[in-house]
Every structure is written in structure tokens, then in C-alpha cells.
């Protein structure tokens, strides 16, 4: 019985505490990718976390992640050069740090996306999660251009319609 439980159980990673730490740190960190869809209310599957953080916040983000034993695969200098890096243990956190990313409809600029962000609040009061606006999330999916990104756009459009109907 114990073996079965171990298979079903996630790792010891305390997700709620992780988001609370980000929220309370004042970091400019946006949850993007499928976890953002989930936080907004779309039940999709994903194994990792995707963040887009301000390029000046890498060191503070890494310091907070270290408390969860998440180790960066690049130095902050290397991350700034390449525009992205990963934090890893048995969890995987992809971190985008570019100031802007080119897209089919023009560049998506972090500062603009940050200024239009949605802040999702939880009952505990200490775990606000920042996600891009629906329009910016859709734009970010267009940049990915994979089949699952197209599926996600359709779901985001459905979510937008449901919200408009309320």
C-alpha cells in the first residue's frame, strides 16, 4: 500500500509555499504557460512550471528558489545572455528572462506585459499569482506555435467568451 501511495504522491515540493514566497518577495514574476491556464480555470495537463521574470530579478528569484532546493542550470550572466534558464530538482521550472520576445504580431515586451498583468488572489491572502492578461497569454501561445499552443489558444478564447457572458 505504501509503495502505491509513493507512486501517486507528488514530490515534497510545497507548491503553495513556493507561490507564497514569490508573491511576498515583490518579484516581477509572471506565471506563464499551461500552469497559467490552470490558475485561470482551464484544466489542462502539464509537468513543469514556466515563469517570465524581469531580467533584473534573476538573483532574487534564484535565492528564493534555493529554499525549495531548485538549482539554476546557468549563472545569472549566462541567463541574461541566452534569455532563459532552468531551475531544477525533481521539479522543472523554465524561466524566461528576455526583455522581449519576437512574435508574429510584433515583439512581446516584458514591461508591457507586466503592466497589463492579472493578479489572481487566494483566500489565504498571501499567495497572489501574477499571470499575463488573456490577450498577452494568447500572444505568448502564438510565439510557441506548437500544436498544443493552438489548442490552448482555443481554450483561452472559450474562457474569454465565458467571462464576457457573465
Amino acid at each position: 500500500m505504501e509503495a502505491n501511495l509513493a507512486l501517486v504522491k507528488g514530490s515534497e515540493f510545497d507548491e503553495a509555499l513556493f507561490f507564497r514566497a514569490i508573491s511576498q518577495s515583490g518579484l516581477r514574476a509572471l506565471l506563464i504557460g499551461r500552469r497559467a491556464l490552470i490558475a485561470l480555470g482551464i484544466p489542462v495537463m502539464t509537468a513543469d512550471y514556466d515563469f517570465w521574470i524581469h531580467i533584473d530579478d534573476i538573483e532574487r528569484f534564484n535565492a528564493g528558489a534555493l529554499l525549495f532546493e531548485l538549482i539554476p542550470d546557468r549563472t545569472p550572466l549566462e541567463a541574461r545572455r541566452s534569455g532563459r534558464y532552468r531551475l531544477q530538482n525533481d521539479e522543472l521550472v523554465d524561466v524566461l528572462v528576455a526583455r522581449s520576445v519576437p512574435g508574429p504580431d510584433g515583439p512581446l515586451v516584458f514591461d508591457d506585459v507586466w503592466s497589463r498583468r492579472n493578479t489572481l488572489t487566494s483566500d489565504d491572502g498571501g499567495s497572489n499569482i501574477c499571470v499575463p492578461s488573456l490577450e498577452d497569454l494568447i500572444a505568448s501561445k502564438r510565439i510557441g506555435s506548437r500544436p498544443k499552443d493552438a489548442e490552448d489558444v482555443r481554450l483561452l478564447q472559450q474562457l474569454r467568451k465565458q467571462r464576457e457572458a457573465l
Binding site: 501517486v8 507548491e15 503553495a16 480555470g41 483566500d123 500544436p147 489548442e151 482555443r154 478564447q157 465565458q162
Partner: protein, 80 residues
Amino acid sequence: MKPPVLRSPSADERAWIAEQAARRLSPEEFQSYVEAPVSEWERENAGALITWFTTRYKTPLERLAYARRAQARHSARLRK
């Protein structure tokens, strides 16, 4: 009812699936997929899923926690 037990794909099958999943669509392909008409079934199904998810799990943290459990269950079934 017992959940279905899935067969773990072979290495070749995994590689093919990964390649297909990571493939970048051309702007035209992407646009045509996104703009394809939404069937009544798809609209109702997606709408019902979102309504169920946001009603059952009211906060973003609850939704994220549910997704994490669902992913763990899914991975465990694949490991069997």
C-alpha cells in the same frame, strides 16, 4: 469503475510523439487551427470543463494543486 491502465509507449513511439508535440506550426497552419469553427460539442464540453473546474476549485492555488495531483496520477498509471 477502474481507470484504464495505459500501456507505456516504446522508445520509438515516445520519440515520435515528442517530435510531433514539439513541432512548430507555420503561421498559416496555426491560424487555421485556431480559427477553425468551434463545434457545438466542443463549445459545450470546454465550457462545462471550465465551469466545473472553477466551481469545484475556487482559488488558483486549489486549481494548481488539483492539476499537480492529476499529473501524478497520470504518471503513476503510465509507470505501471
